[in-house]
């Protein structure tokens, strides 16, 4: 496990959120099947799956030659109940406020 990976950074990406959602409704899928759901190159999807696995949002299940991915529900719950998404929302809004008012000052 790579502890440098931040789950909040992981869910900030819309494709990765879409992967989580896909797995939330399909339970377990192989990387190949996940990739067919997206307009993105297979290696890019593999990278997304790697990031999601490294931050513990996904678990890998080896069945024969195939690797299946499944959501780690406990970790998802921890992320969902944490303050970070709420803080990020306000951070982004306040960054915009600052930019808007700096522009306003000079006009």
């Amino acid at each position: 496990m790579n502890l440098r990976r931040d789950p909040f950074q992981a869910i900030a990406d819309p494709t990765r959120r879409a992967i989580l959602l896909l797995l939330a409704t399909s339970h377990t899928l192989t990387a190949g099947i996940i990739a067919t759901n997206f307009n993105t190159a297979r290696p890019t999807i593999s990278k997304h799956l790697q990031i999601l696995t490294e931050c513990n949002l996904l678990s890998q299940i080896q069945t024969g030659r195939e690797v299946h991915y499944t959501i780690n529900a406990a970790k998802m719950k921890e992320v969902a109940e944490f303050l970070e998404p709420f803080r990020m929302l306000w951070e982004n809004r306040f960054n915009k406020l600052e930019a808007v008012m700096k522009k306003h000052k000079t006009t």
């Binding site: 879409a18 959602l21 997206f38 998404p85 008012m101």
Partner: protein, 157 residues
Amino acid sequence: MEQKTQVHAPEGKQEIFITRQFDLPVNLLFKAYADADLFAEWMSTQVVAWENKNLGYYRFETKDEAGNTLISANGTIHLTITNQKIIRTFQIENTLFEPQLEFLDFESLSPATSKLSIQIIFRSLALRDQLLKLPFTYGLNMALNRLQTILSKHKIL
């Protein structure tokens, strides 16, 4: 990146504290909250009612690209003191959320910097925790919409 915005939600208390320092003089920070056009711009919303005065009110609607209303919210302004304070309520419409009470304190730190401290008080702890979860839920809804678009393009749905 440095975290300029701090959120504090004390355990077991129906309150949220949000603080942020700005590279703006306090009068510009306050103006971002007092001027309807500027508020609409930084909140990426449309102001539909705005009486920024003591015992005043406000209402805004946020729409998606297709013009569907994503969120509408309103509140009454109890007190406003220029460059110092706004006390108001806030309620998201058409949801189970009840109005929340907000104290906004504006503080000058230097001629070029300022600080905003927001204290939000909810009717219950459960309502506070529900609001904290909103951005995540909203993010997943956005992902769901995107997923549906992708899947329907591939004729999977």
